[in-house]
Amino acid sequence: MDQALSSKKMIALYLAPGLLLLLALVYIPIFQTGYFGLMDWNGIGEMSFIGLENYTLLIQDAAFWDSAWHSLLLAVFSALSLIGYLLISLVLAGKIKGANFLRKIYLVPMLLASVAIAQLWMKIYHPTNGILNTLLMSIGIENPPAWLAEPSLALFAIFIPIIWQYAGFYILIYYAALKNIPESLVESAKIDGASAWDIAWKIKVPLIMNVIKVTIVLAVVGSLKYFDLIYVMTNGGPNGASEVMASYMYGQAFSRFDFGYASAIGFFLLVICLLITWLIRKVTVSDEDIQY
């Protein structure tokens, strides 16, 4: 009876459209990026093979390492903010009325286009008429900073809307995981006299450790390849102060037309992301055997 469903031809036919698209537009391009990274190429003319020269250049490129440092800062910042999201979720998943409504409200910014978010926050940070400086001036601060134009502040000023954008996403994930913990486990701990704090940190958090692990990977890798808000709000400026790896790569390719060098950065980005994913999964303890 299984003959129809085990026909090789049928299996191939059903896999083919998706698999071919994925190969053509995702997997083959990453190998091409590796290949282009070995070339001197402006994107239009002939390519010439230069071996690892782009990578030796990359190692010495201070502007690139600045951008890598900014990406790393964002990664650390995002990973730390997970603690806050976890705390909010622990409260939310307790016996809170309207929790479902609240977590949906939290999610709204995540659904909006990065470009719209970027434009909105550029207005919020507007030096004279933005809501932030209007507020600061109304409480007596006379010369509030020009946030996005301030080299020492621009990067951190962009971190805030990134947090704003993703908060609801992580809270949603934690909330769903916490709601999956069987009530009986929590009840028996309560009977044994455990405090709410103990129940949260000694029972609930260890039980959702696998989910926490996934969110750490998502937050760190997502930060390392982060692009949208930075590109729109400051395009890496002022003077590289908010440049991250992806925006640096984009500028090298589509403003300076150094496609070979940009490909090398793109390939480096890929390797870093895969490496970090593997590393975090390896380092964080495995809780495969936790059952509930």
Binding site: L22, P29, T33, I88, I105, L111, A113, Y250, L270
Partner: protein, 300 residues
């Protein structure tokens, strides 16, 4: 006498206990109130920028600069909306966004459903290997594919062509869509499909006639998630499309706003128009969106 003393003692004890309980209750109420306040502050922080956006989209510059940020304008200036809709190409961008989003969603759902069907319903040995092959796509940074894609589309004359966008969106959304569908397919009972095989139905008949209709709920969930991603996408459209008539709202408003850089009302109105479809979808489909985001983000 003795009895009376005893009861007195007992009532005192009971009273003390009640007072303690009362205290505990008060403490509980206070801490709950504090928690609600914290949660509410987070909620306000998430929503307030959007309220401010809607308010300044209904003001002219003078009102933006002179009124307090959350003051209502004397008369809401809906003409801002009419102006940006008629002056710029917002209508065209809007149409393109709908076209690219819609086409890519249909293709993604169809191809992902076919692949998931092959991975979960057909009998072969390498299915988990191929599932892994699809899932690796989740880890690839977009920027690591951008230059080859740009190059390939240039060679094929697909720069400034809707096809480059629709195909890219489809490909990049396949892994997450398969992930969402896969969970549902696995718990879906196979009896109906098996009965159809007994009756000699063809594979196509089973897939299109039985499996697709049975998976309608998860298709709806996956579709709304795809829709949001495509509607908001920026990097590909910014890279592959430069001709105005092919732009979507995300890049369109980016350029359009540059032109109105000092007109707050116009910028606000443009932004509201661009996010409105997503907000409307959210109001009606928030449960599906929540479900889709959870299913598409974490699998142990």
């Amino acid at each position: 006498m003795r009895n009376e003393a005893l009861t007195e003692k007992q009532t005192a004890l009971a009273r003390q206990k009640a007072a303690e309980q009362q205290k505990g209750k008060i403490r509980h109420t206070i801490s709950m109130t504090l928690l609600y306040i914290v949660l509410a502050i987070v909620g306000v922080f998430q929503i307030l920028p959007l309220v401010w956006l809607v308010l300044f989209s209904l003001k002219n510059n003078q009102e933006v600069f002179e009124l307090s940020p959350f003051a209502l304008p004397a008369t809401p200036r809906f003409e801002n909306y009419i102006r940006v809709w008629t002056e710029g190409n917002i209508g065209q961008y809007f149409f393109n966004s709908v076209l690219y989003t819609g086409s890519a969603v249909v293709l993604t759902i169809l191809f992902a459903s076919m692949a998931t069907f092959a991975l979960t319903r057909m009998k072969w040995k390498k299915s988990s290997l191929f599932l892994g092959l699809f899932m690796v796509g989740l880890m690839i940074p977009v920027h690591s594919t951008l230059i080859p894609l740009f190059n390939t589309f240039s060679n094929l004359d697909l720069i400034n062509h809707p096809l480059s966008i629709i195909l890219t969106y489809t490909a990049f959304n396949l892994p997450i869509t398969i992930m969402i569908l896969y969970g549902f397919y696995q718990v879906l009972p196979r009896e109906v499909e098996e009965a159809a095989i007994m009756d000699g139905a063809s594979v196509h008949r089973i897939f299109f006639g039985i499996t697709l209709p049975m998976t309608a709920p998860v298709i709806a969930t996956a579709a709304i998630i795809n829709m949001i991603y495509n509607w908001n996408e920026f990097v590909f459209i910014n890279t592959f499309i430069s001709a105005d008539q092919f732009k979507t709202l995300t890049v369109g408003i980016q350029n359009f706003i540059g032109q109105y850089s000092t007109d707050w009302g116009a910028i606000g109105a443009t932004l509201v128009i661009s996010i409105l479809p997503i907000l409307i979808a959210f109001i009606f489909l928030s449960d599906r969106i929540v479900e889709g985001i959870s299913a598409g983000s974490v699998k142990g």
